[in-house]
Amino acid sequence: MAGNKVKRLIQGNEACAEGALYAGCRFFGGYPITPSTEIAEILSVRLPRVGGKFIQMEDEIASIAAITGASLAGLKSLTATSGPGFSLKQEGIGYACLAEVPCVIVNVMRGGPSTGYPTGPSQSDVMQAKWGTHGDHPVVALVPSTVPEILSETVRAFNLAEEYRTPVFILYDEIVGHMREAVTLPEPGELEIIDRAKPTCAPEEYHPYDTNYDVPPLAAYGEGYRFHITGLNHREDGFPTNDSALIEEGIKRIIDKIEKNKDKILKNEEYLVDGADIVVFAFGSSARSARFAVNKAREKGIKAGLLKPLTLWPFPEETVRKAAKGAKAIIVPEMNLGQIIYEVERCAKGVEVAGINRVDGEPINPAQILEAIEKFS
């Protein structure tokens, strides 16, 4: 036991709730769905203890709406769901993107499409996270693969949401969500906590989409700044516009604020990637299997490495490009029928890219990955 710190064996979903509380989340709006429900259940008990609010809304659409409203009233807000609920939330996600409302949305991925296989793990909503809502919009998505990572990435998700005034997704599969691992709970002050910038100007001068900033400060309702928020394309001052130039400027800015800050948002783990012949690009629980396989391959003398993104969106294009340079092949194991491989293929020009896929509710096992490594080595 490290010092006075509390080390506990907890489930992934529990770690998510702990991370949210640590990050300062004070509002949860959700609707139960397997396999994410524990997050709601835990927060229904824990939030009131810290003066926060938990509300079980009538559905997922209402949930994303409620957290958006709560965030605009000043609270760090969270919702958690799974595939079907994630699909339902898409319109509301687009709203939060365009209106630039910080919030965190967890999707504990289960088998799809449709009701699918509610208790089976999956990684098949990762492209949906990028393209699920209509219209061009910014996307930030984090993909932890261990229980401690769920905690720390949840904190990071809130930080990114606040810093960039945008919804942030946390995507992990049922395996990681329900698995128990030891976590040392961070003490207050141990992890950095970022709060959204609030305006310092006079209320009359406040523009919620002030183009002098990449990320304009966000006032909270009821604190003297009487501003307007809309899901229509709007001007700096928040009011709707039909002016083509302003419309384009507005949409571009919300995308640029992420693009420009990619360096700060991206986070990858590289394990033996330098000089590797075979690079495995894997995230979530597949990354665990991949690391296992990479170790086995190294034992066999194969120069394999693991590139594990923690930020999946924006996509680590440069990192993949670099890793692809020296490599013979990139292997992309995913619990879906091939999604992120599209991105890898796009970035890793010239190198063989091979997917390992399964959608049967079983994890991709190390043996499958090892076999592929051996084949390409």
């Binding site: 036991m1 030891a182 994890p363």
Partner: protein, 185 residues
């Protein structure tokens, strides 16, 4: 690479197999200085029928969280035993309840058979303590966690009013397993 040790606790819903898995994992990663990952059968299975919990223990990081080559498995029902024993690795250990598991599986592993539930009923008055007895036995049989760690883990998990009963159950487990081992020689 550091050594993985894989355990599987199996029985039927309501026999406390998941709790057993959690306690084992806690003994390893909180009270011993190891790493542990615990996972469990989920979903339709969790509504009656066979139930299982798995624990992987290691000195190093644990990547793949599921059991594939099991070092030690517990089976408290025939159904669970028949369904899950196949993953036991060569040289592994299988502990079964001798009253429940009559069709003993064959394989390249050491089999221990003991009336765990009956002992729980007779010696402690409550069959639900069978899982704690089992934990004692497995600790003794495998040595994968220290007795002290297991004691701490059990004591931290069980509710106060049942502490004594469970202390006894654990000690009983240690003891009975020692006898079994000696018998096997």
């Amino acid at each position: 690479m550091s050594q993985r040790y894989e355990l599987r606790f199996s029985g039927s819903g309501g026999q406390g197999m998941i709790l057993a898995g959690i306690i084992m994992a806690e003994a390893a990663c909180i009270y011993d200085e190891k790493n542990a990952v615990q996972s469990q059968s989920y979903g339709p299975e969790s509504r009656g029928g066979a139930s299982k919990a798995e624990v992987v223990i290691s000195d190093g990081p644990i990547d793949y969280p599921k059991a594939t080559a099991i070092d030690c498995m517990l089976a408290l029902t025939q159904e669970a035993c028949s369904k899950y024993f196949k993953d036991i690795k060569d040289g592994g250990i299988l502990l079964v309840d001798s009253d429940e598991v009559k069709e003993l599986p064959e394989g390249n592993f050491t089999l221990y058979s003991f009336p765990i539930i009956d002992t729980a009923r007779k010696e402690l008055g409550r069959t639900i303590t069978a899982n704690i007895i089992s934990l004692g036995m497995i600790t003794e049989l495998t040595g994968v966690v220290t007795h002290a760690a297991m004691e701490e883990a059990v004591y931290a998990r069980v509710p106060k009013p049942f502490l004594d009963m469970n202390k006894k159950a654990l000690q009983l487990g240690f003891e009975k397993a020692r006898e079994l081992k000696e018998k096997k020689g």
